[in-house]
C-alpha cells in the first residue's frame, strides 16, 4: 500500500477530525480520537487490509504513524 493511501485510511479508520491530515511523524497518542476503541479499529483495519495480527501488548508501544507502519512491516508499504 502507498504510504499516502495508508494515511487516508488512518484518517477514516480513526475518524480523525482534530487534525486535517496525518503523516509518518504524527504521534497517534496525541490525537484526541486515540482511545481504547480506536485501538480496536486499528486491529480490524490491519486484519482487513494487511491480513496481519499484531500482539495486543505491542499496541502499547505505538506512538507515531511510523511506529505503527514498522509494526505492520516495512514491506507492506511503498513510498
Amino acid at each position: 500500500m502507498k504510504k499516502t493511501e495508508f494515511y487516508d485510511l488512518l484518517m477514516d479508520t480513526l475518524e480523525i477530525e482534530s487534525v486535517d491530515a496525518v503523516d509518518e511523524s504524527t504521534d497517534l497518542t496525541d490525537l484526541e480520537e486515540y482511545d481504547s476503541l480506536a485501538v480496536l479499529s486499528l486491529i480490524a483495519m490491519i486484519d482487513e487490509h494487511f491480513s496481519k495480527r499484531i500482539p495486543g501488548t505491542d499496541f502499547q508501544k505505538i506512538t507515531t504513524v511510523q511506529s505503527l507502519m514498522d509494526m505492520i512491516g516495512a514491506g507492506s508499504f511503498e513510498s
Binding site: S36, L40, S41, R53, G56, T57, F59
Partner: protein, 332 residues
C-alpha cells in the same frame, strides 16, 4: 430424544447508568462517539446489595410465572460473580424458587461462552435421561468487578440475568455444537486478586490503563486488543465448524446472534464472516455487554418481536474469558 428452548425470562436491575452520566464523571468522554462505536447508550447496574443470585432469582420468577415449579428437574447457574466460594449458588436458587428437592443443581463458571455451554449440558442431561426440564440461568454483575475509574470497562459492561427453560421434545430444537478452549489466554481477561492464588489486597496499587483509566489487581483487567485478536481468529472458525457439524451453510441459517461484546467488534466479525446485515442481531444499546446473558436476552428479544418465528434456525455463538468459545444452532 430432542431438547428445545421453551421460554426465556430476563431481569435487568432498576438502576440505569447513561452515557451522559458517565460523561459527567469522566473528562474527554464523548457520549455520542461511544454510542456510535460501542453501540451502547445505557447499561443497568445492580444495586449495592443486589447480587447475581438476586438477579438470577428474578429472571427465574419471570420465566416460571405460569409454570409448575415441580416440572423443573435441573438448575444450572452460570455466573462469574458467585454469592460465596461455597456453597453452590444453584443450590440456594433451588430453595429460593421452591423447586422440588429432587432437582439437580450445579454452577458453571464461564463468562460470555456460558450460555452455549449451558445449552450443551442441558441437551446432554436430556439425552442421558437425567432431566426432562432444565432451568439454565445466566447471571452476572460484572460492574461489581470494575474499578470506579476504569472508564473503558464501565462503558462496556452492564448487569443482567436471563433464565432459559430447556425441555424435552419430539422435534429437533438444539442441534450440534462446536466448543473450544485456549487457556493460554487466561491472563488477558481476569480478576487477578480475590481467589486462592492471589488473595484480595486492600492495599493493591492503582494501575493506569494508558487511556486515562485506572484499575487495581482486585478489579477486572481486560486486554482489549488481545481479546479482539482472539475473537477474529476463533469466531469465524467456530461458526464454520458448527455449520459443518450440522451439515449446513450460512444460507440455511435464518438468523445469527453473537455474544454482544461491543458493536465495533461484533460488527467486524459479521463482515469478516460474511453474514448479511438483515440476518444479524446487533442490540446492546440499552443493556451493554451483560456477559453470559447477552445471547438469551437477544434470543428473547427477536422471538418477542417476531424477527424469528417458530421453525426458524438461529446460529448462536459466545466467546470470551478463558479463552472459551462455542456455537450451536437452535430451531425455534
Amino acid at each position: 430424544m430432542n431438547a428445545v428452548i421453551q421460554k426465556i425470562g430476563v431481569y435487568l436491575p432498576e438502576t440505569v447508568l447513561t452515557n451522559d452520566a458517565l460523561a459527567r464523571e469522566f473528562e474527554d468522554w464523548n457520549s455520542e462517539k461511544v454510542e456510535k462505536r460501542a453501540g451502547i447508550r445505557e447499561r443497568h447496574v445492580a444495586g449495592e446489595n443486589e447480587t447475581a443470585l438476586d438477579l438470577a432469582e428474578k429472571a427465574c420468577r419471570d420465566v416460571l410465572r405460569d409454570e409448575d415449579p415441580e416440572s423443573v428437574d435441573f438448575v444450572i447457574l452460570c455466573t462469574q460473580s458467585p454469592e460465596y466460594y461455597l456453597p453452590t449458588g444453584a443450590c440456594i436458587l433451588q430453595d429460593r424458587l421452591g423447586l422440588s428437592v429432587r432437582t439437580g443443581a450445579l454452577d458453571i463458571s464461564l463468562g460470555c461462552s456460558g450460555f452455549v455451554y449451558g445449552l450443551a449440558l442441558a441437551k446432554s442431561f436430556m439425552a442421558s435421561d437425567t432431566a426432562d426440564r432444565v432451568l439454565l440461568v445466566t447471571s452476572d454483575v460484572m460492574t461489581r468487578h470494575l474499578h470506579p475509574r476504569d472508564r473503558a470497562n464501565r462503558t462496556i459492561f452492564g448487569d443482567g440475568a436471563a433464565a432459559t427453560l430447556v425441555g424435552r421434545s419430539d422435534r429437533e430444537g438444539i442441534l450440534n455444537f462446536s466448543l473450544g478452549t485456549d487457556g493460554s489466554g487466561f491472563r488477558n481477561l481476569i480478576v487477578p486478586n480475590g481467589g486462592m492464588r492471589h488473595r484480595y489486597d486492600p492495599d493493591a496499587p492503582d494501575i493506569a490503563d494508558g487511556f486515562g483509566g485506572t484499575r487495581t489487581d482486585n478489579h477486572l483487567y481486560m486486554n482489549g486488543p488481545e481479546i479482539f485478536n482472539f475473537t477474529i481468529d476463533a469466531v469465524p472458525k467456530t461458526v464454520a465448524d458448527v455449520l459443518e457439524k450440522n451439515e449446513m451453510t450460512l444460507e440455511d441459517v435464518d438468523y445469527v446472534i453473537f455474544h454482544q461484546a461491543n458493536k465495533y467488534m461484533v460488527e467486524y466479525l459479521r463482515k469478516k464472516i460474511g453474514i448479511p446485515h438483515e440476518k444479524f442481531y446487533l442490540n446492546m444499546l440499552y443493556t451493554g455487554n451483560t456477559v453470559s446473558a447477552t445471547i438469551p436476552i437477544g434470543l428473547n428479544d427477536v422471538m418477542k418481536q417476531g424477527i424469528v418465528k417458530p421453525g426458524d434456525t438461529v446460529l448462536v455463538s459466545g466467546f470470551g474469558v478463558g479463552y472459551s468459545w462455542g456455537a450451536t444452532i437452535i430451531k425455534i
